[in-house]
């Protein structure tokens, strides 16, 4: 096996400094002055957002959070990696392990409410698999990588093989009890974090509740949170069967002229810019949803004039994700001015499972869930939301920090053919590779859903007798959730889908795509665990085919 990675290998165990106090860092954890993170540029400018920026290194919006100096080498410089078209906040990491080095850790399963959603509401396409097909692979991923959570026995949010759950604090427990009365389920954050440890993986520690995941952009320097370098790649290399080639920017899947099959890939050395060829019996793309689509579209040949694997014309289309932004923040009166408690020593607060369109129908399709939590982190949230100044302000921040409760929604964006990415005919990246052009917008369903999210959020806080300080019904720019999916969807009909249920190209049998691009619909549940379960299933199938000589 040869694994090609566009970025460098970076040891997050060394660069993240998860426990460094801000005052021990010369810039309190912030990036050097020549670095800049995009924020409102997505709204006030046209892409490419970093074009003509006076800064040397421009990074996506996640780098405007805390501790950004530690993650600045993991995410791309937008100046080298432009894209064009409609508004989109695209977050990309180029390093071994990619975005798994800094992901949000929420490890959820999908259910037949997602896989067979068309049967329920008539929209879009069903997945070519059902929950029963993927369930054993979710189990394997859980046991191999570790996931923490509390079983709830919900048909629309199936339980995992959980390790020790994250505990709830007082306000969260109170909200859980309140929501029970409304038939809704708030459960401890289902974190892709090993809380009990993993005997079979010497690279990963159990979680020690240091609270670092919420202080920084993301990442875990003891690898209690799953990241693919320590969770998957190093163990795979230890088998002796895997070669890792870093700094390998793949720009084309090459084709065997005689058979029309994939012959390998062409790549540039990211540093020397020299061109290389890698040959293989099978080619598996896992470059992330949008980069995999870009690669398929770039790989044009006489056998595949629309790009390899694209006889259906669906590559780049049916692009979907999660809409976020609507949120509520407030505080629990009982907790105001109480002695300080340790609130952030865990990989997450809570997850509130979807409740719309399960039995009754709303005026929009599909569902949304909330992520949230209560209490204070190292830097108190009310420091930025408390009005005024002086002694009163200072006391308010001190007294209310531990009493805060907030949550934000993540909702399913419908997979629609008319939302797509294609290749820009003119603009190229720093390597001379044509870039993606976005043609992607939220639609009416997302707008209706967002309005409902804000109303429901307030209702639930009011039911819990929380004092609501603010609500928002505003959708953040497209892309904000970093959950892009759907640009090479699975299906049984080669005319309307790109890959089959084993993520194998309908057109080119020895070409697989194993990232979020194959998801048929976005669900409202985070995609990471499903990406891995599907990949495992597809690789098992591929191994069978290779044994039988059927690739």
């Amino acid at each position: 096996m040869l694994l090609l990675e566009a970025g460098r290998s970076q040891d997050t165990g060394k660069i993240l400094h998860s426990m460094e106090w801000p005052y021990d860092h010369p810039r309190r954890g912030k990036m050097p002055p020549e670095y800049h993170a995009l924020t409102n540029e997505y709204t006030i400018r046209q892409s490419p957002y970093a074009q003509n920026s006076p800064y040397k290194n421009v990074q996506s919006y996640v780098q405007s959070w805390g501790g950004t100096d530690y993650t600045k080498t993991l995410v791309v410089n937008e100046k080298e990696h432009p894209y064009t078209g409609t508004r989109y906040a695209w977050v990309r990491a180029r390093a071994v392990g990619g975005k798994t080095n800094i992901w949000g850790r929420l490890a959820l399963r999908l259910s037949d409410y997602d896989f067979k959603a068309k049967d329920r509401d008539g929209f879009g396409e069903n997945w070519p698999i059902s929950y029963a097909d993927i369930e054993p692979y979710y189990d394997k991923v859980d046991l191999y990588l570790g996931v923490s959570g509390h079983p709830e026995n919900l048909p629309y949010l199936p339980d995992s093989k959980f390790q020790r759950p994250v505990k709830l604090n007082y306000a969260e427990m109170h909200l859980r009890e309140t929501l029970k009365g409304m038939g809704r389920v708030l459960t401890p954050y289902r974190a892709g974090v090993t809380t009990d440890g993993l005997k079979h993986n010497k690279y990963r520690s159990r979680c020690y509740g240091r609270g670092a995941c919420s202080r920084h952009v993301g990442g875990c320097d003891i690898h209690a949170a799953f990241d693919s370098p320590t969770g998957l790649i190093r163990p795979a290399m230890d088998t002796g069967n895997l070669t890792l080639r870093t700094n390998a920017t793949v720009y084309e899947v090459t084709v065997d002229k005689n058979t029309g099959k994939a012959a390998g890939v062409s790549f540039l050395d990211s540093e020397t810019r020299k061109s290389y060829q890698a040959k293989g019996k099978t080619v598996i793309l896992a470059a992330s949803t949008l980069e995999s689509a870009r690669l398929l579209l770039l790989s044009k040949s006489s056998a595949h004039p629309n790009g390899i694997g694209n006889s259906s014309g669906h590559v780049g289309h049916n692009f979907c994700e999660h809409v976020m932004g609507p949120s509520v923040a407030g505080f629990m009166k009982d907790l105001v001015a109480k002695p300080r408690t340790l609130d952030d020593g865990r990989p997450g607060g809570f997850y509130l499972a979807r409740f719309r369109n399960l039995d009754k129908r709303s005026d929009f399709l599909r569902g949304y869930g909330f992520e949230g939590g209560s209490g204070t982190g190292m830097i108190p949230g009310p420091a930025y939301t408390t009005p005024g100044f002086g002694e009163e302000y200072k006391k308010h921040v001190r007294d209310y920090a531990g009493a805060t409760v907030s949550m934000g929604a993540f909702g399913e964006v419908l997979a629609r053919y008319e939302n797509y990415v294609g290749i820009d005919p003119k603009v190229k990246d720093a390597f001379g590779i044509p870039v993606l052009r976005f043609s992607y917008r939220f639609g009416e369903n997302e707008r209706k859903m967002a309005a409902d999210m804000a109303v429901a959020a307030r209702e639930m806080f009011e039911a819990a007798k929380f004092e609501v300080v603010s609500t928002s019904d505003e959708m953040l720019p497209e892309g904000w959730s970093i959950h892009e999916m759907g640009t090479a969807r699975m299906g049984s009909d080669p005319k309307t889908s790109v890959v089959n249920q084993f993520q194998q190209s309908h057109d080119v049998k020895n070409l697989l795509v194993v990232d979020g691009s194959t998801h048929v619909s976005a669900s409202c549940q985070n995609p990471t665990w499903t990406i891995m379960a599907l990949c495992w299933r597809s690789c098992d199938h591929l191994a069978e085919l290779l044994k039988k000589g059927e690739v």
């Binding site: 005052y23 021990d24 509740g209 240091r210 020593g345 420091a383 930025y384 009005p387 200072k394 001190r398």
Partner: protein
Amino acid sequence: MDRREVLKLAGGAFACLQLPAAEPGAPLFFTAAEFALLDKLTELIIPADGHSPGAHEAGVAAYIDRTVAEAYVPDEKTSWRKGLAAIQRLLKESGDQPAAVLTKLAASEKDPKTEAEKFFTQLKETTAFAYYSSSLGIHQEMGYLGNVLLPEFKGYEAN
């Protein structure tokens, strides 16, 4: 950790020194008069009270001075200089009543319009970050208990 803070804490529990504990000299970017105004304004925003010292002791002005001094884009520097000048003008008009000036500016902090109003929101946000990320802010003022190796989170088991 900035130099002023280092001096305060040297020998204390948080003496993780990165910069030499030298006597602080002239500000790196601001003039002495600008720095004195900045120091005064930040202390007004987060003052010493019965609970803990304020922005002055936490070295907030020195942190801002250092940040602005190394800013890469000239606009980031001039905005601070212009903002302080705008406040200085208001101070003069008010007969040197800084608390009254800030009260007026804070009244429109949700939707700042004038240069001074916009500068106030920037100053307040930066002061808050600099104060609450300082050793004094994290430990003494907030009594933050985290960033430790925690065998078990104290909380409630979902049932």
